[in-house]
């Protein structure tokens, strides 16, 4: 049952020093941002903030210097990320590119792709989105229909992507699509392309979420022509490449810190003399987040030492989503959500926002049912 064990998280004085720097930076940058805005967590988009983060050298931290990176350790990067999330910093502009697109291109991209994109991501100027889900392909990613037909000088793309977060702000998409065969071939015949979203024939339509916010999009490809240089990695190797991204996508601090601003506001609302029942509830949530952080840091350590943490990452994401969703319910069990006390106004707004957004926590990045299926397979049930 080694798959249920996590290595001890690393700790370093350098990372703790960096933590202080990040805290100081955030205290300044966010001092006028109210909690209800910070509650947006990694959905908060602010290009100016992203540029300032880049200036500090906190995007592409682990990448080679020749691509604009800073050659810092994975632990230092993790420290920056968790500080940003805990403070509710608006990281959405660079979030996906830093977490996923950059590492994917470093691993599979051509030299030209790396040189063209990575330095601009690290400078906080280029943003990326992920073209995975489709109208008929959500959890069942291998049912992908969007097709990039190889033609003489590149690919001709037709199809529709859905739930594409911040496609309307990003310049680039990593498109997961079919380059041969049909949906019957499932994983075979899939590839990844790096697509410039200003290419003619791409239509980006907003999909508004239940509380009126615009982060999702539908992205329609209508005879979109891209060059041969758009191919990332090998033709037909798309599935393996996508799977290798998931270790990064599923285990980070964003998988359990989405409601952290609410937990902080809850402690504020409880005041100076919390009841024993409130202490028990806050203590319990604290113990959960501290253990999740141990697990997540353990996965980071495994990634750095070249181990495959697919199972451990899945465990973090599943437990993390349960925890993030529970915070709203615990908060409203301790403090009236419709209180009209002025001191509780901000708490109530954060609670309301987090409650509305919470259903997405166990959908994005792999649904709860898919994750538990992966865990069941990992322990030998399937």
């Amino acid at each position: 049952m080694n798959q249920l064990r996590f290595p001890s998280p690393p700790a370093s004085v350098a990372a703790e020093r960096l933590r202080s720097e990040v805290r100081e930076f955030l205290a300044n940058s966010l001092k006028d941002v109210p909690a209800r805005i910070r509650a947006k967590s990694w959905n908060g988009f602010d290009a100016e903030f992203t540029r300032k983060v880049a200036e500090r050298g906190w995007i592409g931290m682990t990448w080679p210097r020749r691509y604009g990176g800073h050659e810092r350790t994975a632990l230092e990067r993790y420290t920056v990320l968790e500080e940003m999330l805990a403070a509710g910093a608006p990281v959405a502009a660079h979030w996906i590119a830093d977490r996923q697109t950059g590492p994917l291109l470093l691993k599979y991209g051509t030299e030209a792709q790396k040189q063209a994109i990575l330095p601009r991501i690290a400078a906080g100027e280029a943003y990326a989105c992920i073209g995975m889900s489709e109208p008929g392909s959500g959890s069942d990613l291998a049912a992908v229909r969007t097709r990039a037909e190889p033609v003489a000088d590149g690919f001709l793309i037709n199809g529709t992507k859905l739930w594409t977060t911040y496609a309307h702000r990003a310049q680039h998409m990593i498109l997961f699509c079919r380059t041969s065969g049909s949906t019957q071939d499932r994983q075979a015949g899939t590839s990844q392309l790096l697509v410039d979203l200003s290419t003619p024939g791409i239509h980006i339509n907003p999909v508004i979420d239940l509380q009126g916010e615009h982060h999702f999009n539908e992205v329609v490809f209508d005879n979109v022509h891209v060059g041969l240089g758009a191919l990332v990695g090998e033709m037909g190797n798309g599935w393996q490449q996508v799977i290798s991204e998931l270790g990064y996508e599923r285990s980070g601090p964003e998988r359990f810190l989405s409601s952290m601003v609410l937990l902080i506001e809850l402690v504020r609302a409880l005041g100076d003399n919390p009841s024993p029942a409130a202490c028990i509830a806050v203590g319990r949530l604290s113990s959960h987040v501290i253990v999740l952080r141990q697990m997540s840091l353990g996965v980071a350590r495994m990634l750095e030492s070249g181990e495959d943490p697919a199972m451990q990452a899945t465990l973090v994401k599943d437990l993390g989503a349960v925890f993030e969703q529970e915070i709203s319910e615990v908060a409203r069990s301790l403090i009236d959500a419709d209180s009209d006390l002025p001191a509780l106004t901000e708490f109530c707004r954060v609670l309301h926002y987090t409650t509305m957004v919470a259903p997405s926590f166990s959908l994005r990045g792999g649904t709860r049912e898919i994750l538990r299926g992966i865990i069941a397979r990992g322990i030998g049930l399937r």
Partner: protein, 356 residues
């Protein structure tokens, strides 16, 4: 892990496998002490696992010695190896002589009165739920500001836990202890740190037992055929067992955190996190293991209860989830909302002692 630790782990696993098959665990839960197995563990030196070489142990790194505790949990140990390890550690710390044989320790409770009489101390009253007291050759009682070695003949066993559960006793004491048996706490050690030691042990044992019930439940779900196929092929069952596995994983991480906090000066918040998180995992995990096992898992003959009954006992000992969560919540709230995150990272970050 170096070869020394591997060897110790292997030795321990081999001893448990050969000395403690199911029948031995079963008879121990009926009150029979497996003397032969205990002697084998003692000959291997395991009860001294937490002691330095100077103290008469073999100078294992603490974290490796604590791996033995996890093994005890995973095997529903039918002997008080864990209690004896802690008692010997405590004796070494306060300067009491080591005594061979199984040992246990008890924390001062509300039904025990102690008073000083010159250099001596009178200890009178009852202690409840003392682990393994009836099978122990010696008992150390830990008070607010003292530690006493209570000779075996001075312990009156007033009641025993019911058959099938882990051995726990209510004991009566009415004794005057001379200075020879009495020690003051040195340095940072006190009643709370000994409670922490117990909590770390139970956390590790729960993590071990949870891993064991994951393995048992997966195996059972693969064997048990209903509706023409193994129940483990049903998605509804798979999803439940996945939750059990994730709780076992959380308990493992909690145990690693708590084990790292073990020592003379405890990082009490880390112990609180470990014990309360593992305790919650025990509750959720045991319930799922029973649900999947169906009626057979509810019988005395089936071995699931070796582990689930132990989990239900361990989660309550040395501070339940309620106890440690309240402690942790008070500490978390004390610094105010704007220090909460800093509190969370501090508890989880064990910096190397040598700054580099």
């Amino acid at each position: 892990m170096n070869s020394m630790d591997d060897m110790l782990t292997d030795t321990t696993l081999r001893l448990f496998d050969t000395e403690f098959p199911d029948e031995v665990v079963r008879s121990s839960r009926a009150g029979q002490f497996p003397q032969q197995g205990w002697t084998a563990l003692e000959e291997a030196g395991l009860p001294l696992g937490l002691l330095s070489e100077a103290e008469g142990g073999f100078g294992l790194a603490t974290i490796d010695a604590l791996a033995l505790v996890r093994i005890c949990g995973a095997h529903a140990s039918p002997v008080p190896l864990v209690e004896t390890m802690v008692t010997n550690w405590l004796r070494a710390r306060v300067g009491l002589p080591l005594i061979p044989g199984p040992a246990t320790f008890a924390l001062l409770g509300p039904s025990l009165v102690t008073e000083a009489r010159g250099r001596d101390r009178v200890v009178r009253g009852e202690l409840h739920n003392v682990p393994w007291a009836e099978h122990s050759a010696s008992l150390v009682v830990v008070g607010r500001d003292f530690v006493v070695e209570v000779p075996r003949q001075e312990i009156r066993i007033l009641s025993s836990s019911q058959p099938g559960s882990l051995p726990r006793n209510t004991i009566g004491l009415d004794i005057t202890l001379s200075g020879d048996h009495l020690r003051a706490f040195p340095g940072s050690l006190d009643l709370d740190t000994v409670r922490c030691a117990g909590a770390v042990m139970r956390t590790l044992e729960m993590a071990g037992a949870l891993e064991q019930i994951v393995a048992m439940t997966v195996a059972y779900a693969g064997d048990r055929i209903q509706f023409g196929r193994p129940i483990g092929k049903q998605q509804a069952v798979q999803q439940q067992i996945a939750v059990l596995a994730s709780q076992a994983a959380a308990a493992n991480a909690a145990a690693t955190l708590a084990a790292g906090a073990f020592g003379d000066s405890y990082h009490m918040e880390a112990v609180a996190v470990g014990k309360s998180r593992a305790g919650e995992a025990a509750s959720v995990g045991a319930a799922i293991a029973h649900q999947v096992h169906g009626a057979i898992g509810f019988t005395r003959d089936y071995r699931l209860h070796f582990f689930t009954r132990a989990l239900w006992t361990w989660r309550d000992e040395y501070g339940s989830e309620r106890y440690w969560n309240e402690f942790l919540g008070q500490r978390a709230c004390a610094g105010g909302a704007d220090q909460l995150w800093s509190f969370i990272t501090r508890v989880g970050t064990q910096l190397p002692s040598e700054s580099t």
